[in-house]
């Protein structure tokens, strides 16, 4: 009799622990959001001019007599580096996904997948270091530029960092296309290229789109590598050879210097909120698209 009661208690205890683990993810997300919001809220509601915040390129948070908090240049920095990175990473990533899923033999496939996962495991500071040393020199030589730390450098580094995500999600999407589609198309005499273009890509298009969006999310949120590779100067760029600064890098570089609860400190948290919203929207879109795939 006593043992039965013990079992019931143990059972419900375990159930609650597991439930708590599951709920904690939700709690953490809300807690992080609330914390970031709380740190920036006072300034956001009382003093910040949102028009100036979004449309001014004057970022002088430490100026002695005229502090200005315009993040337009930072948004453009993040946007330009991200767009360039995606221009490189999406074709390469999806191409690699098609190759791995459709062209290469089983042994090559396994080794490629392991290598690509390894690529994803390289710490971002190492990528930044490569940008700072290798790609910097390359850009100076090839383009005869005065400095090699610019949009191009950051874009290449970010592309290399996003490719693994795009490849593995894209490959999953192609793998999810039923073999019967392949067989049907091939039996009608489709060549490999016709099979990929007419059947596989349309059938996997949602998954591939989600792969690209997750790559975007990765690129927008990356901090250390772009901090090291883009030159980190507040600037409205005219070409890919101009240095820029991103939203993420600004927070990383300035938060340590800003006095707690100062206006500067609070604005950095508002930038955090902005980043949070961007990645949230991108990830949410990707998630909705993937969900759409599963429903079909």
């Amino acid at each position: 009799m006593g043992r039965g009661r013990l079992e019931i208690i143990a059972e419900s205890l375990i159930e609650w622990v597991i439930r708590l683990c599951g709920i904690s993810a939700i709690i953490f997300i809300f807690a992080i959001f609330l914390f970031v919001f709380k740190e920036g809220a006072e300034f956001l509601f009382n003093e910040l001019d949102l028009t100036e915040f979004f449309f001014s390129k004057e970022w002088y948070p430490t100026s002695g007599y005229n502090k200005r908090y315009g993040v337009l240049a930072l948004i453009v920095g993040t946007g330009s580096v991200t767009i360039l990175a995606m221009l490189i990473a999406v074709p390469f990533g999806l191409g690699a996904a098609v190759f791995i899923s459709e062209f290469c033999g089983p042994r090559l496939k396994e080794s490629l997948k392991i290598l690509i996962e390894l690529l994803a495991a390289i710490p971002s500071v190492v990528w930044g270091f490569i940008g700072l040393t290798v790609i910097n020199q390359l850009i100076i030589h090839v383009f005869n530029a005065p400095v090699g730390l610019n949009i191009l450098n950051g874009g290449i580094i970010l592309a290399l960092m996003s490719v693994p995500i795009i490849v593995s999600i894209g490959e999953d999407a192609l793998k999810a296309v039923p073999d019967s589609y392949r067989e049907a198309a091939v039996a009608m005499g489709a060549t490999r290229w016709q099979l990929i273009r007419r059947v596989l890509l349309p059938a996997a298009k949602n998954g591939l789109l989600a792969a690209a969006l997750l790559g975007v999310g990765r690129a927008v949120g990356e901090t250390m590598a772009v901090l090291m590779a883009t030159g980190h100067s507040v600037n409205m760029p005219n070409s890919v050879l101009d240095s820029v600064r991103t939203l993420t890098a600004t927070i990383a570089a300035e938060l340590g210097e800003a006095p707690v609860n100062s206006d500067h400190y609070q604005v950095l948290f508002i930038i955090g909120l902005l980043l949070f919203s961007i990645t949230f929207v991108v990830n949410m879109t990707a998630d909705l698209i993937v969900r759409g795939v599963r429903k079909k």
Partner: protein
């Protein structure tokens, strides 16, 4: 009766998947413009044979093929342009496979690959093929909705329409009636009888009576071996060459 030329010549064909012998040395010819039935219990190698004929066996890398299958006198395992070979052959597999395209695009898929672009020509072809597969009346108002949304039996007929769309010289049907009601099956059987004048039809079926109704000649396969091949008059008579054929056809075993 006019002497017909062999369309497909099979000699001593053996297919092995790793350790499993799927086909164990079979030889027979399939003639031009005949309906050739292949009957036999599961695991007798019928589907594998079709896969060799259109070379989709290539997608089972563990399969080893020896012996010879010739289509129009050319060894299929050595043919240079495998895509041209497959375009010559229409294949209908037992489970319906609608491509995730519209009904129209499903049927127009092969013609488009062959380079037909003109809208009116495609329209005509699509309508003809859907008519032949006894599907036109059910789908004519929604040609541009997804083919995968059709019912199982409709999808099966869609695959038949698709197999006919590239005007194949050989039409292989692997258990085509598995998901179709008897009335529709009859409609398609009528179409097959008409198609005989234009192409060679290979009919793999578990329904012995279907082979009896439709085929000119029938082969009976078991465990990868050919038990007997001959004209339907003999195979379905009371005295086929092999006792097993009689027993199978009359439902005594299998």
């Amino acid at each position: 009766m006019v002497k017909q030329n062999p369309k497909i010549e099979i000699s001593d064909l053996k297919v092995r998947y790793d350790d499993v012998h799927a086909i164990n040395g079979i030889s027979f010819d399939i003639l031009e413009n005949e309906i050739f039935g292949i009957i036999g219990p599961a695991q007798s190698g019928k589907t594998t044979l079709l896969k060799v004929i259109n070379r989709t066996i290539d997608f089972s890398p563990e399969a080893r093929v020896t012996g010879r299958v010739k289509v129009d006198g050319k060894d299929v395992m050595r043919v240079g342009n495998v895509y041209a070979l497959r375009r010559k052959i229409g294949m209908v597999s037992p489970l319906p496979v609608g491509l995730p395209l519209s009904i129209y695009d499903n049927v127009a898929f092969a013609p488009r690959m062959a380079g037909i672009r003109e809208r009116s020509q495609l329209d005509e072809l699509v309508e003809k093929c859907l008519h032949q597969a006894a599907l036109w009346d059910e789908v004519k108002d929604r040609l541009h909705s997804l083919g995968t949304k059709l019912s199982g039996g409709q999808q099966q007929r869609l695959t038949i329409a698709r197999a006919l769309s590239h005007e194949p010289e050989i039409l292989c049907l692997d258990e085509f009636s598995i998901a179709i009601d008897p009335v529709t099956t009859m409609k398609i059987e009528d179409v097959l009888k008409q198609l005989r004048s234009k192409m060679t039809v290979i009919l793999v079926t578990n329904l012995v009576q279907q082979a009896r109704r439709l085929a000119d000649r029938t082969a009976f396969m078991m465990n990868g071996e050919l038990v007997e091949v001959g004209s339907n008059d003999v195979i379905f008579s009371d005295n086929p060459a092999n006792r097993k054929t009689y027993e199978y056809v009359n439902g005594i075993f299998g």
